[in-house]
């Protein structure tokens, strides 16, 4: 492969690009989400502003590494974006729960409060950036962390699907699909972290992940169709107050992250036929 295309093979860079796209994509998502509340609290602007600034900082960090040969800049700037992201996410979690749940402590208030797990997307993204700097990307630990964070992401999707669709009382049976599928994703992605697995199992995981991607795209279609026939006078308001159109895309998004982890883990397995990220701590180099 020509040297100019080598970045394709760099999973460390791949993860950075993944995080960049996610940070950039969160801006319109958070704009729609907090428009539901008409940005009533000033704190609701924080993730929006962060999502508008952070991608550029991260882009600068990536450029510093790839084109400037300044790994220190990449390291510190990325860490800054990562920790800020963790902070935004955790603050968001508390503020979302504070919208109702902390007053009532009921299942109902958990369902109808601002989606409490949503801000953790920022935390997950931040942890990916920090992990990418603290863990040797050529070690077997690296894909283990990627898979763990993808697994937590699917866990978040599971909670999202349950609580968001509970607001509808699971009125349509199809609303159970993402609940079942994300549970499957959590189950299958958890196994490599718990017990020794081989490459055939990773192939099965890939099949499960493809199903997740299909479910996500199907959800996008259903949500969009619902919004196109919404009760609001125009489409934008339907997008704001109707089914969250971007939310199902979290599924294919996490599939990409999982595939990144599986691909690297698969490379390790080519050398050692069966291993577990939790059992085998010997860092094996992957090319």
């Amino acid at each position: 492969m020509p040297r100019s295309l080598e970045w394709y093979r760099s999973h460390r860079l791949g993860l950075e690009v993944f995080v960049f796209l996610n940070l950039a994509g969160l801006a319109p998502d958070i704009y729609l989400a907090h428009s539901t509340n008409a940005f009533r609290e000033w704190t609701e602007y924080v993730p929006l502003v962060y999502s508008l600034i952070a991608p550029w900082l991260l882009l600068a960090a990536i450029a510093a590494l790839q084109f400037g040969g300044k790994p220190a800049v990449w390291h510190w700037l990325g860490n800054f974006v990562g920790w800020a992201s963790v902070l935004v996410g955790l603050s968001g979690l508390i503020l979302h729960l504070d919208s109702r749940f902390f007053q009532e402590h009921t299942l109902d208030s958990l369902v109808y409060a601002a989606p409490f797990a949503a801000p953790l997307a920022y935390t997950g993204i931040g942890l990916l950036l920090i992990m990418n700097r603290l863990v040797d990307h050529e070690s077997v630990e690296w894909p283990g962390w990627v898979l763990l964070l993808a697994l937590i992401g699917f866990g978040g999707n599971f909670l999202f699907s349950v609580t968001d669709h509970a607001q509808n009382g699971f009125y349509h049976w199809t609303e159970w699909i993402p609940v079942v599928s994300s549970a499957l994703a959590v189950g299958f992605l958890a196994v490599p972290l718990l017990i020794v697995v081989g490459r055939p199992y990773l192939a099965l995981c890939a099949v499960v992940l493809v199903i997740q991607a299909i479910v996500g795209l199907l959800g996008f279609y259903f949500h969009l169709a619902a919004d196109l026939h919404g009760t609001s006078p125009n489409f934008v308001e339907n997008l704001i107050y109707g089914a969250p159109v971007l939310a199902p895309l979290l599924f294919p998004n996490l599939v990409l992250l999982s595939f990144l982890g599986l691909r690297v883990l698969n490379c390790h397995l080519r050398r050692a036929p069966a291993l577990s990220a939790t059992v085998d701590r010997n860092p094996e180099k992957v090319g």
Binding site: T36, N37, S99, R100, L107, D108, V111, Y112, A113, A114, F158, V162, A166, Q167, N168, G169, F170, Y171, H172, V179, V180, A183, L184, V186, G187, F188, A190, V191, L194, I195, V197, G198, P200, Y201, A203, L204, G230, T231, S232, P233, E237, N238, I240, Y241, G242
Partner: protein, 412 residues
């Protein structure tokens, strides 16, 4: 690939799925068992904002029978026939809830209300017949002759719009026609988000309007044995009892609603107080209502739940004597004032001469108070607040009439 890895994956996934089903099954049926997805969302989504913005509204609703019976915000705020909906954060709602919304579930009650003087006639008193359709006028006139085919009360014009708006309308709007074609608002007695039967049974609820010198029912009730016992034993009464199961075990002391509306011990509940009222006590000269015999029998049946027939008959006999006596006194003075008008000694405009106010006070304040007091056990109101001022005004009016005639005779 080992079986163990697949097994562990499926067990983990299965556990999550079962947990999701289990938690969802624990959700209240008011939330999950709704006819539309919008109604499910409304069961919690509305409160998410409104509990922050107007906590009392949400809290009052949570205390209501509606909440206990799985009726959520959107059920009452949905767009009824004749109403214009408005988009509200993904819901199409009607913010001005009228009787048209309530009747969607409570049609028989609405029909009873329509037959009452609380409906059209109360609004016609301040606004005349103009705001009503011919059909609405004809409907109420069947039950309350001359109550709808009438001009607005002259005081509404004389006292000015602000006085009418902040004064008269506050009570009389209970029968205001709505743009959606319905009449009135149930919230006048049941409140909005509380939607409370208990509230409607409280004397103070009726007393919001039935008070003051022109219709001093709440003051009379407070003086009566009924009112005194209510004050003393209120805590032991079951004001929230189901209307169709209400008995004297729940309400062993009556409030206004108990006698005038409630279905005590199996009697039929009514939202038309006229069903149990045999006389037009409010009138200048009291006459029998069109349903006199049936209404009096109905009220006596209510009384009989606590009193012997002899006592009931005696109260009616004595009260009817007061009515007849008051009618005579009012008619006597009415003739004096009419004579002055006939002889051109008074202006044709209403409330233009001091004697107009004297006479209005005589029948509208003192006469009514005397008659209401007699039927409601308010001795002081029959005499000191009723017949005494009638006598005082009688003497004054006759003196004023004499003076007017003397002055008129002096004129060249």
């Amino acid at each position: 690939m080992t079986f163990r890895s697949v097994f562990v994956a499926l067990v983990l996934a299965g556990t999550l799925i079962v947990a999701a089903f289990a938690v969802n099954s624990k959700r209240p049926r008011v939330v999950t068992e709704q006819p539309t997805a919008a109604l499910v969302r409304a069961s919690g989504k509305c409160a998410e904002c409104h509990s922050n913005q107007q906590y009392s509204v949400v809290h009052e609703y949570e205390l209501s029978a509606h909440a206990r019976k799985n009726v959520n915000c959107l059920e009452c705020h949905r767009v009824a026939e004749g109403q214009k909906g408005r988009d509200h954060h993904g819901f199409t709602i009607n913010t001005k809830v009228t009787a048209a919304n309530c009747r969607a579930c409570h049609e028989p009650i609405y029909q009873q209300f329509l037959r009452s003087r609380h409906a059209g006639p109360s609004w016609a008193a301040v606004a005349g017949s103009e705001p009503f359709t011919a059909q609405q006028i004809a409907f109420s006139e069947q039950f309350h002759p001359r109550s709808m085919k009438r001009p607005p009360h002259p005081l509404t014009h004389l006292e000015g719009e602000s006085a009418t708006q902040s004064g008269c309308i506050s009570c009389h709007s209970i029968g205001k026609p709505n743009a959606d074609g319905s009449i009135g608002t149930c919230a006048a007695c049941h409140s909005r988000h509380t939607s409370s039967v208990e509230l409607a049974r409280l004397p103070s609820t009726c007393g919001q309007c039935h008070m003051g010198p022109d219709h001093s029912q709440i003051e009379i009730y407070a003086e009566s044995k009924h009112g005194v016992m209510f004050e003393a034993q209120r805590a032991q009464l079951n004001l929230a009892a189901e209307p169709d199961k209400l008995s004297t075990r729940d309400m062993f002391v009556p409030t206004c609603a108990t006698c005038h509306m409630s279905g005590l011990n199996g009697l039929a509940v009514t939202h038309d107080p006229s069903e149990r009222l045999s006389y037009n006590l409010f009138a200048e000269i009291t006459d029998k209502r069109p349903n006199f015999a049936r209404a009096q029998a109905a009220m006596k049946d209510v009384c009989a739940n606590c009193h012997t027939r002899e006592v009931v008959e005696r109260v009616y006999r004595e009260a009817e004597a007061v009515v007849a006596n008051t009618n005579e006194k009012v008619a006597d003075i009415k003739a004096v004032v009419a004579g002055l008008h006939k002889d051109g000694l008074l202006s044709d405009r209403p409330f233009a001469d001091p004697i107009d106010f004297e006479y209005f006070d005589l029948w509208h304040y003192d006469g009514r108070t005397s008659k209401h007091g007699a039927f409601m056990g308010g001795a002081d109101f029959v005499q000191w607040h009723g017949n005494y001022p009638i006598l005082k005004h009688t003497v004054e009016i006759k003196s004023m009439a004499k003076e007017l005639r003397r002055n008129h005779a002096k004129k060249p």
